[in-house]
């Protein structure tokens, strides 16, 4: 008798939950709330929540409320795969947002493709993902490096030295730098790939000094590699540094004691200082407005980084696409996303390139100066993610599910 009661109740519950879920749009979120990457990811999670709350306050999309189903992936690729399957099979979400590291994105991308799940990756990365089911709101190398590297070479000189983390992100980013240096008539005077668990840099520092570069590109990842900055400052290296990853993600300029990051240049598509540094105009107003709304919801957030802006944009772009498609049916939403859809976010308009599914960005050149004071010496407006499209990725015409690099472009 007892068993039957349980069966009936669970059956009723299933019926009820199904009926209820039909009235919401379910957004699956996989982000590293804990573990190695948590420091840069927590503001991202809050940005998703802020965007959802704002959209729901205006009545939701197509008369339905947005509902977040979120799992903590613990900076662990196995968790990513586990929870990706759970979101798809058990929670039956309409779309998935998330992942910080490229390794975790590549761990779940095949799962998304197999289930034909719509997936938004909202992080800066090494570029090249040409995938029918994937949309990217983070910045890519042609946006961060084709602006940064020529500017640095013009200002400081043509000899560039690269140190990079020895895995897919560092290798592919270094390949980009190599190519851009060559295109701009510069010389790569040295290149070193460093294993992720190296924490002592005396020898690297001397190799750099021996090569006498004008510009040092630091594509270092993780807490151990971040020790390089303190050690180069202590050794008095004094060479201008440039990167695509620090400051805009894990706010090293606030966490490390000066002068570790002094004289570093970073290209970002947003950081919370934008409206403090730029005193008036479009970018000031948009950033200030965003930060006020963010802080009202999360007053204790230590730092609002560029990935938070990307996450916020991603939810809004998805909501616009669903409204445009008039349904959450995935192929129709993808078609709507391929119309050149755009959203006016914390750092201006981001529009999705139909060919490659990547977003355009305003790129700010951030300089970390004396005492880690931030300035913005240059702004590039509306930088397109041009490379994949030019290389032959054309998703509306030809479905694809691959990641390409400059040395391994799409087959034409």
């Amino acid at each position: 008798m007892k068993k039957i009661t349980i069966l009936i109740t669970s059956f009723l519950f299933l019926l009820f939950s199904n009926a209820w879920s039909a009235e919401t749009i379910k957004l699956g979120i996989l982000e590293d709330e804990t573990g190695n990457f948590a420091i840069a990811v927590v503001p991202k999670i809050h940005a998703y929540e802020l965007a959802v709350k704002e959209i729901n306050a205006k009545g939701g999309v197509l008369g339905k409320k947005l509902e977040i189903v979120r799992y903590d992936t613990q900076s662990n690729n196995t968790r990513f795969q586990e929870f990706a399957r759970r979101l798809i099979e058990k929670d039956k979400v309409d779309v998935v947002f998330g992942a910080f590291s490229s390794a975790s994105r590549e761990a779940i991308r095949p799962i998304m493709d197999k289930a034909k799940m719509l997936y938004f990756y909202n992080n800066q990365y090494e570029g090249g993902v040409c995938d029918k089911n994937v949309f990217v709101t983070g910045a890519v190398p042609e946006q961060q490096f084709s602006t940064l590297v020529p500017w640095m070479m013009e200002k400081y000189g043509k000899n560039v030295y690269v140190i990079a983390a020895d895995y897919n992100f560092g290798q592919i980013s270094a390949e980009w730098v190599r190519q851009i240096v060559k295109e701009n008539g510069g010389t790569l005077v040295g290149e070193e790939f460093i294993p992720l668990d190296v924490s002592q840099y005396s020898q690297t520092i001397q190799k750099i000094q021996k090569a006498k570069p004008d510009v040092l590109m630091t594509l270092l990842v993780g807490a151990k590699q971040a020790s390089f900055y303190e050690q180069q400052a202590a050794a008095g290296l004094g060479i201008p540094m440039a990167t695509s990853i620090n400051v805009g993600q894990a706010y090293e300029h606030k966490r490390f004691a000066p002068p570790a990051l002094e004289n570093m240049y970073v290209t970002v598509n947003y950081i919370e200082e934008v409206h403090e540094v730029i005193k008036s105009g479009e970018f000031h107003d948009k950033s200030k407005d965003f930060m006020e709304r963010f802080k009202a919801e999360y007053p204790n957030e230590p730092y609002v980084n560029m990935e938070a802006a990307n996450a916020y944009n991603a939810i809004n772009i998805y909501a616009k696409a669903v409204a445009l498609a008039g349904t959450t049916d995935r192929p129709k939403v993808i078609t709507a996303l391929e119309t050149g859809i755009s959203f006016d976010g914390p750092s201006g308009v981001v529009s999705i390139d139909p060919k490659s599914h990547h977003g355009s960005h305003t790129i700010f050149l951030v300089k970390v100066g004396e005492g880690h004071k931030v300035t913005i010496p240059k702004i590039w407006k509306d930088i397109k993610p041009y490379w994949l499209g030019e290389a032959g990725c054309n998703l509306p015409e030809k479905a694809d599910y691959s990641q390409y690099t400059p040395s391994k472009p799409p087959k034409k």
Binding site: P195, Q203, R255
Partner: protein
């Protein structure tokens, strides 16, 4: 001339890193035979003790470092009384227990202090030679690590405490029947080992990113140095570290960091294959 100084500086830098990684473990594993997988967490305690006291109490760096070491000694004493005491002479059980301790400690740091803590600035300045510049603090670390090891050698090999400690660890029953307070000797020796790991954490804290896993950066170097040093760690440690740092710096100089690490690990395999008693075995044989 500058080239020569460069080589000496690089060699000394790698040497001091290996020596300081290993110095606490040389007592706890080398002497006391406890396979202490929580060695990295002892270093973490020393590093956090230094940085947190430096930030919150605004202590000057040397005092903050002393505070960090003191905290690690206390931590070691408590751990010895509660857990390690029951594991003497049970090396395999000590692996499991210390591994558990290591997980608990690093996760506690994550919960209490978050994924990253604001760092301190490296003390002292830098000096230039030709095109190169060097951190003075790194040079200080080289001299400091060598002197520390020398003091340790004196303590364990030349003083009466050292004799008691070695006797206790070698034959606890006989030492006990001779009137030695075995429990106290164990506690003090373990606390010295923990304190030395704390010294390592305190010294490297201003040069590294402060994260709950900071101690993990030392653990591989620590074990390979102590294993290569062999049965009598205080004699074998310097030659072992010197040999290993020569291999690593020269290979890294000619090739790259990845190959340097491979060469380092490969040379350890060769050492334990052909010198099963490590460098100290080689030295005692010649005597």
């Amino acid at each position: 001339m500058i080239m020569l100084f460069n080589i000496v500086y690089q060699f000394g830098d790698a040497l001091s890193f290996l020596l300081l990684s290993a110095i606490g473990l040389a007592v706890i594993f080398g002497m006391m035979k406890i396979i202490n997988l929580a060695h990295g967490e002892f270093i973490t305690v020393g590093a956090y003790g230094t940085v947190v006291s430096g930030k919150i109490l605004h202590l000057p760096l040397p005092i903050a470092m002393a505070f960090g070491v003191l905290v690690t000694i206390l931590f070691g004493l408590i751990l010895e009384k509660l857990i390690i005491r029951h594991l003497y002479g049970r090396p395999l059980d000590s692996v499991v227990a210390t591994w558990g301790i290591s997980l608990i400690v690093s996760q506690s740091f994550l919960v209490i202090f978050g994924p990253s803590y604001e760092g301190l600035q490296t003390p002292m300045g830098n000096f230039k030679l030709g095109d190169y510049s060097y951190s003075e603090y790194r040079v200080f670390l080289i001299f400091f690590s060598l002197s520390l090891l020398f003091l340790l050698y004196i303590l364990f090999m030349k003083t009466s405490f050292g004799a008691l400690a070695r006797a206790t660890i070698e034959k606890p029953e006989i030492a006990s029947s001779m009137g030695v307070n075995v429990n106290n000797i164990y506690s003090i020796t373990f606390a010295i080992g923990a304190g030395l790991a704390g010294v390592t954490g305190a010294l490297y804290a201003p040069t590294m990113t402060i994260v709950p896993s900071i101690g993990q950066a030392f653990i591989v170097s620590a074990f390979i140095t102590v294993v290569s040093a062999g049965a009598s760690p205080f004699i074998g440690l310097v030659p072992a570290a010197a040999f290993l740092s020569t291999v690593q710096t020269s290979v890294t100089f000619f090739y790259k960091a990845t190959i340097g690490i491979i060469a380092l690990l490969f040379s350890v395999i060769i050492i334990i294959r052909f010198l099963p008693k490590g460098f100290s075995g080689l030295i005692s044989k010649q005597k």
